[in-house]
Symmetry: C2
Subunit: 144 residues, 2 copies
Protein backbone atom coordinates (compact mmCIF):
# COMPACT_ATOMS: atom_id res chain seq x y z
CA UNK A 1 0.00 0.00 0.00
CA UNK A 2 2.34 2.63 1.16
CA UNK A 3 5.45 2.92 -0.88
CA UNK A 4 7.20 4.50 1.99
CA UNK A 5 8.30 1.00 2.88
CA UNK A 6 10.95 1.19 0.25
CA UNK A 7 12.87 -2.00 -0.27
CA UNK A 8 16.59 -1.55 0.30
CA UNK A 9 17.28 -2.84 -3.17
CA UNK A 10 16.04 0.30 -4.81
CA UNK A 11 18.67 3.00 -4.86
CA UNK A 12 17.28 6.32 -3.74
CA UNK A 13 18.25 8.63 -6.48
CA UNK A 14 18.06 12.37 -6.45
CA UNK A 15 16.59 12.59 -2.99
CA UNK A 16 12.87 12.89 -3.62
CA UNK A 17 11.56 15.49 -1.29
CA UNK A 18 8.10 14.21 -1.98
CA UNK A 19 8.08 10.85 -0.35
CA UNK A 20 4.44 10.93 0.49
CA UNK A 21 3.23 9.16 -2.55
CA UNK A 22 0.01 7.50 -1.70
CA UNK A 23 -2.28 10.37 -1.08
CA UNK A 24 -5.58 8.49 -0.90
CA UNK A 25 -7.38 11.11 -2.93
CA UNK A 26 -10.35 10.48 -0.74
CA UNK A 27 -11.46 7.58 -2.82
CA UNK A 28 -14.66 9.09 -4.11
CA UNK A 29 -13.09 12.27 -5.35
CA UNK A 30 -11.97 10.11 -8.18
CA UNK A 31 -15.61 9.63 -9.01
CA UNK A 32 -16.18 13.35 -9.22
CA UNK A 33 -13.05 13.76 -11.26
CA UNK A 34 -14.46 11.25 -13.68
CA UNK A 35 -17.53 13.43 -14.00
CA UNK A 36 -15.54 16.54 -14.61
CA UNK A 37 -13.14 14.48 -16.62
CA UNK A 38 -15.80 13.72 -19.11
CA UNK A 39 -15.21 14.66 -22.68
CA UNK A 40 -18.12 17.05 -22.99
CA UNK A 41 -18.82 18.15 -19.45
CA UNK A 42 -15.99 20.61 -19.16
CA UNK A 43 -16.82 22.01 -22.54
CA UNK A 44 -20.48 22.51 -21.70
CA UNK A 45 -19.74 24.03 -18.33
CA UNK A 46 -17.36 26.42 -19.98
CA UNK A 47 -19.80 27.44 -22.67
CA UNK A 48 -22.66 27.85 -20.25
CA UNK A 49 -20.40 29.79 -17.97
CA UNK A 50 -19.60 32.21 -20.73
CA UNK A 51 -23.06 32.50 -22.13
CA UNK A 52 -25.06 32.45 -18.94
CA UNK A 53 -28.20 30.85 -20.28
CA UNK A 54 -28.72 28.91 -23.46
CA UNK A 55 -31.44 26.96 -25.11
CA UNK A 56 -30.87 23.43 -26.27
CA UNK A 57 -30.26 24.33 -29.88
CA UNK A 58 -28.00 27.24 -29.06
CA UNK A 59 -25.98 25.02 -26.81
CA UNK A 60 -25.71 22.43 -29.51
CA UNK A 61 -24.45 25.02 -31.92
CA UNK A 62 -21.90 26.31 -29.43
CA UNK A 63 -20.52 22.94 -28.52
CA UNK A 64 -20.43 22.07 -32.15
CA UNK A 65 -19.17 18.58 -32.67
CA UNK A 66 -21.46 17.09 -30.11
CA UNK A 67 -24.36 14.98 -31.24
CA UNK A 68 -27.85 15.70 -30.12
CA UNK A 69 -27.88 12.52 -28.14
CA UNK A 70 -24.68 13.22 -26.27
CA UNK A 71 -25.82 16.73 -25.50
CA UNK A 72 -29.00 15.38 -24.02
CA UNK A 73 -27.24 12.68 -22.07
CA UNK A 74 -24.52 14.96 -20.77
CA UNK A 75 -26.97 17.65 -19.77
CA UNK A 76 -29.06 15.12 -17.89
CA UNK A 77 -25.99 13.91 -16.10
CA UNK A 78 -24.88 17.40 -15.22
CA UNK A 79 -28.37 18.22 -14.07
CA UNK A 80 -28.41 15.16 -11.87
CA UNK A 81 -25.15 16.22 -10.30
CA UNK A 82 -26.61 19.60 -9.57
CA UNK A 83 -24.29 21.42 -11.92
CA UNK A 84 -26.78 22.51 -14.52
CA UNK A 85 -30.29 23.81 -14.08
CA UNK A 86 -33.01 23.13 -16.57
CA UNK A 87 -35.98 25.40 -17.07
CA UNK A 88 -38.72 24.25 -19.36
CA UNK A 89 -41.39 26.51 -20.78
CA UNK A 90 -44.24 24.44 -22.14
CA UNK A 91 -45.00 26.79 -24.96
CA UNK A 92 -45.32 26.11 -28.62
CA UNK A 93 -42.74 25.65 -29.85
CA UNK A 94 -41.24 24.44 -26.62
CA UNK A 95 -38.36 26.28 -25.06
CA UNK A 96 -35.87 24.88 -22.60
CA UNK A 97 -33.14 26.93 -21.04
CA UNK A 98 -30.02 25.67 -19.42
CA UNK A 99 -27.74 27.47 -17.04
CA UNK A 100 -25.09 26.76 -14.49
CA UNK A 101 -26.12 26.28 -10.90
CA UNK A 102 -24.34 28.17 -8.12
CA UNK A 103 -22.41 24.98 -7.45
CA UNK A 104 -21.09 24.90 -10.98
CA UNK A 105 -20.31 28.57 -10.75
CA UNK A 106 -17.63 27.73 -8.24
CA UNK A 107 -16.11 25.56 -10.92
CA UNK A 108 -15.98 28.31 -13.50
CA UNK A 109 -12.65 29.65 -12.42
CA UNK A 110 -10.97 26.30 -12.58
CA UNK A 111 -12.53 25.41 -15.88
CA UNK A 112 -11.52 28.75 -17.24
CA UNK A 113 -7.94 28.16 -16.23
CA UNK A 114 -8.09 24.75 -17.80
CA UNK A 115 -9.29 26.18 -21.07
CA UNK A 116 -6.70 28.91 -21.00
CA UNK A 117 -3.99 26.41 -20.26
CA UNK A 118 -5.17 24.25 -23.13
CA UNK A 119 -5.11 27.10 -25.57
CA UNK A 120 -1.79 28.38 -24.37
CA UNK A 121 -0.04 25.03 -24.43
CA UNK A 122 -1.50 23.58 -27.56
CA UNK A 123 1.65 24.36 -29.54
CA UNK A 124 3.83 22.72 -26.93
CA UNK A 125 1.72 19.61 -26.94
CA UNK A 126 1.63 19.52 -30.70
CA UNK A 127 5.38 19.75 -30.75
CA UNK A 128 5.77 17.00 -28.21
CA UNK A 129 3.47 14.79 -30.22
CA UNK A 130 5.31 15.40 -33.44
CA UNK A 131 8.61 14.68 -31.73
CA UNK A 132 7.27 11.53 -30.15
CA UNK A 133 5.71 10.27 -33.34
CA UNK A 134 8.92 10.90 -35.19
CA UNK A 135 11.16 9.06 -32.80
CA UNK A 136 8.94 6.11 -32.08
CA UNK A 137 9.19 3.48 -34.81
CA UNK A 138 5.85 1.92 -35.47
CA UNK A 139 3.56 4.46 -34.02
CA UNK A 140 0.54 5.27 -36.06
CA UNK A 141 -0.25 8.92 -35.49
CA UNK A 142 -3.82 8.07 -34.73
CA UNK A 143 -5.36 11.11 -33.13
CA UNK A 144 -5.92 10.63 -29.51
Amino acid sequence: MSITSTPPVVPQRAAPQLTRAHEPLGCRAHEVLARVGDKWSVYIIHVLGEAGTLRFGELKRCVEGISQRMLTVTLRSLERDGLVSRAMYPEMPPRVEYALTPLAMTLRGIVGQLVEWSQANLPAIDGARARYDAQVPGWAPAED
Copy 2:
Protein backbone atom coordinates in the same frame (compact mmCIF):
# COMPACT_ATOMS: atom_id res chain seq x y z
CA MET B 1 -2.77 18.07 0.70
CA SER B 2 -1.24 21.31 -0.31
CA ILE B 3 -0.80 22.67 -3.73
CA THR B 4 2.33 24.59 -3.15
CA SER B 5 3.09 25.51 -6.69
CA THR B 6 0.14 27.76 -7.22
CA PRO B 7 -1.64 30.26 -5.05
CA PRO B 8 -5.14 29.04 -4.31
CA VAL B 9 -6.55 32.31 -5.46
CA VAL B 10 -8.42 31.85 -8.65
CA PRO B 11 -7.86 34.71 -11.02
CA GLN B 12 -11.41 35.17 -12.09
CA ARG B 13 -11.38 36.60 -15.50
CA ALA B 14 -13.15 39.87 -15.33
CA ALA B 15 -16.52 40.52 -16.80
CA PRO B 16 -18.27 37.30 -17.51
CA GLN B 17 -20.38 39.07 -20.02
CA LEU B 18 -23.41 36.99 -20.71
CA THR B 19 -23.46 37.29 -24.39
CA ARG B 20 -25.08 34.66 -26.50
CA ALA B 21 -22.52 35.09 -29.19
CA HIS B 22 -19.83 32.74 -28.14
CA GLU B 23 -16.59 32.22 -29.90
CA PRO B 24 -15.98 28.55 -30.48
CA LEU B 25 -13.05 27.93 -28.15
CA GLY B 26 -10.47 27.95 -30.90
CA CYS B 27 -11.72 24.45 -30.92
CA ARG B 28 -8.46 22.62 -30.93
CA ALA B 29 -8.40 23.48 -27.29
CA HIS B 30 -11.23 21.05 -27.13
CA GLU B 31 -8.77 18.43 -28.21
CA VAL B 32 -6.46 19.24 -25.34
CA LEU B 33 -9.38 19.36 -22.97
CA ALA B 34 -10.24 15.86 -24.04
CA ARG B 35 -6.75 14.82 -23.08
CA VAL B 36 -6.93 16.46 -19.72
CA GLY B 37 -10.52 15.41 -19.48
CA ASP B 38 -9.55 11.80 -19.52
CA LYS B 39 -10.60 9.63 -16.66
CA TRP B 40 -7.10 8.66 -15.57
CA SER B 41 -4.92 11.46 -16.85
CA VAL B 42 -5.86 13.96 -14.19
CA TYR B 43 -5.48 11.33 -11.54
CA ILE B 44 -2.03 10.31 -12.71
CA ILE B 45 -0.84 13.87 -13.10
CA HIS B 46 -2.02 14.58 -9.62
CA VAL B 47 -0.34 11.57 -8.08
CA LEU B 48 2.87 12.14 -9.98
CA GLY B 49 2.77 15.75 -8.98
CA GLU B 50 2.55 14.81 -5.35
CA ALA B 51 5.09 12.03 -5.44
CA GLY B 52 7.63 13.54 -7.79
CA THR B 53 8.92 10.34 -9.27
CA LEU B 54 7.40 6.90 -9.26
CA ARG B 55 8.08 3.55 -10.76
CA PHE B 56 5.47 1.75 -12.75
CA GLY B 57 4.40 -0.51 -9.93
CA GLU B 58 4.32 2.28 -7.39
CA LEU B 59 2.20 4.33 -9.71
CA LYS B 60 -0.16 1.46 -10.21
CA ARG B 61 -0.56 1.07 -6.49
CA CYS B 62 -1.16 4.77 -6.04
CA VAL B 63 -3.76 5.09 -8.74
CA GLU B 64 -5.49 2.09 -7.33
CA GLY B 65 -8.35 1.00 -9.46
CA ILE B 66 -6.52 1.35 -12.71
CA SER B 67 -5.65 -1.73 -14.68
CA GLN B 68 -2.12 -2.38 -15.75
CA ARG B 69 -3.13 -1.93 -19.33
CA MET B 70 -4.78 1.42 -18.83
CA LEU B 71 -1.83 2.65 -16.84
CA THR B 72 0.49 1.72 -19.68
CA VAL B 73 -1.75 3.24 -22.30
CA THR B 74 -2.38 6.43 -20.38
CA LEU B 75 1.28 6.88 -19.55
CA ARG B 76 2.21 6.44 -23.19
CA SER B 77 -0.33 9.00 -24.16
CA LEU B 78 0.83 11.46 -21.56
CA GLU B 79 4.40 10.87 -22.58
CA ARG B 80 3.51 11.52 -26.18
CA ASP B 81 1.92 14.80 -25.21
CA GLY B 82 5.06 15.79 -23.37
CA LEU B 83 3.41 15.76 -19.99
CA VAL B 84 5.19 12.79 -18.49
CA SER B 85 8.82 11.79 -18.77
CA ARG B 86 9.89 8.19 -18.82
CA ALA B 87 13.31 7.04 -17.71
CA MET B 88 14.19 3.43 -18.26
CA TYR B 89 17.08 1.69 -16.57
CA PRO B 90 17.83 -1.56 -18.39
CA GLU B 91 18.83 -3.43 -15.29
CA MET B 92 17.63 -6.70 -13.94
CA PRO B 93 14.98 -6.47 -12.81
CA PRO B 94 14.12 -3.55 -15.04
CA ARG B 95 13.30 -0.21 -13.53
CA VAL B 96 11.30 2.55 -15.13
CA GLU B 97 10.64 5.86 -13.51
CA TYR B 98 7.95 8.33 -14.39
CA ALA B 99 7.77 11.98 -13.54
CA LEU B 100 6.01 15.11 -14.65
CA THR B 101 7.67 17.27 -17.25
CA PRO B 102 8.02 21.01 -16.72
CA LEU B 103 5.05 21.42 -19.01
CA ALA B 104 2.89 19.28 -16.79
CA MET B 105 4.21 21.12 -13.77
CA THR B 106 2.36 24.17 -14.99
CA LEU B 107 -0.78 22.09 -14.82
CA ARG B 108 -0.26 21.01 -11.24
CA GLY B 109 -1.93 24.00 -9.75
CA ILE B 110 -5.05 23.63 -11.81
CA VAL B 111 -5.24 19.90 -11.25
CA GLY B 112 -4.78 20.47 -7.56
CA GLN B 113 -7.67 22.89 -7.50
CA LEU B 114 -9.75 20.41 -9.41
CA VAL B 115 -9.03 17.70 -6.89
CA GLU B 116 -9.72 20.01 -4.00
CA TRP B 117 -12.96 21.10 -5.57
CA SER B 118 -13.97 17.49 -6.09
CA GLN B 119 -13.32 16.57 -2.52
CA ALA B 120 -14.98 19.66 -1.17
CA ASN B 121 -18.11 19.34 -3.26
CA LEU B 122 -18.61 15.64 -3.17
CA PRO B 123 -21.35 15.93 -0.55
CA ALA B 124 -23.16 18.56 -2.58
CA ILE B 125 -23.05 16.40 -5.65
CA ASP B 126 -24.16 13.36 -3.74
CA GLY B 127 -27.06 15.32 -2.40
CA ALA B 128 -28.03 16.57 -5.81
CA ARG B 129 -27.92 13.06 -7.17
CA ALA B 130 -30.05 11.68 -4.41
CA ARG B 131 -32.54 14.47 -4.89
CA TYR B 132 -32.63 13.95 -8.62
CA ASP B 133 -32.99 10.21 -8.36
CA ALA B 134 -35.80 10.63 -5.90
CA GLN B 135 -37.81 13.05 -7.97
CA VAL B 136 -37.34 11.45 -11.34
CA PRO B 137 -39.72 8.56 -11.78
CA GLY B 138 -38.10 5.78 -13.72
CA TRP B 139 -34.50 6.59 -13.20
CA ALA B 140 -32.33 3.63 -12.42
CA PRO B 141 -29.65 4.91 -10.07
CA ALA B 142 -26.97 3.23 -12.05
CA GLU B 143 -23.74 4.83 -11.00
CA ASP B 144 -22.08 6.49 -13.89
